[in-house]
Subunit: 310 residues, 2 copies
């Protein structure tokens, strides 16, 4: 390489226990289209939520080292709420590159959005049990009220979600009924599940004398339901997509770290001809390939199987 | 012990990867109330469905040995569709007592019920992918059409099911709307999910020129939804509860094996003062205790944590 050769774009490693974190990758690509991406889903060992903190830390550290040492990641985004809640320190100890989780950016976006200081957080059972969002809210002077919504991940994985086009239409015309037919009936079920969960959560907040004005979607599967949430929340309530928030935080970190990457920002921000994405999984490549494109909103391509050991 | 002492009742070991198999235990207790019961949920290592056949066989064999060697089980019921589908041989090799799975009894009950020979089977993704029900149907001259219904287990675990009293009312008055309020709205969601799945399955069967008249509930969580299924199926369609079918098969086997147990049948069939149940789990004792009583329809009592190793 000569002195005049343009610096190669940095590689951003994105890690999740499954493939929900592809929503974070999608949000990153939108903002940093010229970076290279390596995504790892530790699908052989999911769900992380039912495992001990020590085990999760070991799995997440192994995964982070794979992305940094074997795939050359210059920057890591932990696109997994459970790993962000329980293993961010262990990951930072395991690798020498900057590491960003999804929980702090979500709480930070809630702080920017909320006027009342009362914030609703919905997430998986494991994330809620960790109380990581409540702690991140409290550190910012917010009151966070968390609720586990275990039906939403299976509804997303079943595909009972609005199509992207329908989602745009919902967002533009709040109050319009979803399309009919089998897909319409499926989406109506998901909308009703969301209505029930939000009614329970709002009743709980009201009973505690709180006035929430912000809802954090604290799970990387939930961005596929964002349009339904935006229709379901009371008027004036902001919906924070933690995948979007994490991607915005990644851009801010990039802006503070240009020297580390040989001033790559111009090339990172300019749209390339082809976005370079390599996807890896430790198991379930078939399900990853089948569902991944819905999360990423583009083909995931061939997913490579990797063995990280026990 | 003198020659005249009454023989002690046999111990029936019941095994599941989780606690859904408590529906099988409930059906066994109803028919064999004087037996002793030891139930093991291998909750630390669930879900079995995403693991390889070899790993499932190893876990199931360890679990079976625990029930036989440490808890003195004289008879084993594998109340887990995945383990029944993939590891019945390995379990039979691991222990010297009779072993009964849930799949063959379900298929046998379908054969007794079906006139057309066309049978619908709904189950988890893992059970459907094993095609164990289709094979068991085929061996009996039936055509089995399988469908994975991944939303039903989380709906049951969330408790979006009719209460037992409501279930009786539904069964008695088909067509009557479920109770309203939050619980009513939740049960209505579950009923709609069942309607959608059955409509898809019936459309698939019709497209293949089949005339199904029997529906097998091929998952140990589904008995809690039986009343909803009975309301949702077309008129004249039989609903086979594989938990009930397995318990009936266990009684038949007991009737052929009285000598093995020192003629215990009279005491097994006579209602005792107190049903003796010991429950064990390898993890998640809290969730087991919280949800188990809904599956068992009586308190599960204190669940003991056991360590079966890796």
């Amino acid at each position: 390489m000569t002195d005049s050769a343009p610096p190669s774009p940095p590689t951003i490693g994105v890690f999740d226990s499954g493939f929900g974190g592809l929503t974070v990758l999608r949000a990153l690509i939108e903002r940093l289209p010229a970076a290279r991406y390596a995504f790892l889903g530790d699908t052989a060992r999911l769900p992380y939520g039912s495992k001990s903190r020590r085990t999760i830390a070991r799995y997440a550290a192994q995964s982070a080292r794979f992305l940094v040492n074997e795939q050359g990641a210059d920057f890591l985004v932990i696109a997994c709420n459970t790993a962000s809640a329980l293993a961010l320190d262990a990951i930072q100890d395991a690798v020498s590159v900057p590491v960003l989780g999804v929980i702090e950016p979500g709480a930070e976006a809630a702080r920017a959005a909320s006027r009342s200081g009362d914030v609703l957080v919905i997430a998986t059972d494991a994330t809620v049990q960790s109380h990581a969002y409540a702690a991140a809210c409290q550190a910012r002077g917010l009151r966070g009220i968390e609720k586990a919504c275990p039906l939403l991940v299976p509804l997303v994985e079943e595909g009972w979600t609005p199509s992207p086009a329908a989602a745009l239409s919902f967002a533009a015309q709040a109050g319009v009924a979803p399309p009919q037919g089998s897909q319409g009936a499926q989406v109506a079920v998901t909308a009703e599940v969301i209505r029930i969960y939000l009614a329970e959560l709002n009743a709980e907040a009201a009973a505690a004398g709180l006035h929430p004005d912000t809802l954090v979607l604290g799970c990387t599967h939930y961005p596929l339901l964002r349009a339904l949430f935006e229709r379901a929340v009371p008027p004036g309530m902001s919906v924070i997509d933690s995948a979007e928030a994490a991607a915005q935080a990644a851009v801010r970190i990039f802006n503070t770290l240009p020297a580390s990457f040989g001033s790559p920002l111009p090339s990172v921000l300019a749209p390339p001809q082809v976005v370079e994405i390599r996807c890896f999984a430790t198991d379930s490549v078939e399900k990853f390939e089948r569902l991944g494109s819905r999360f990423l909103e583009r083909p995931v391509g061939k997913v490579e199987l990797v063995d990280l050991g026990g």
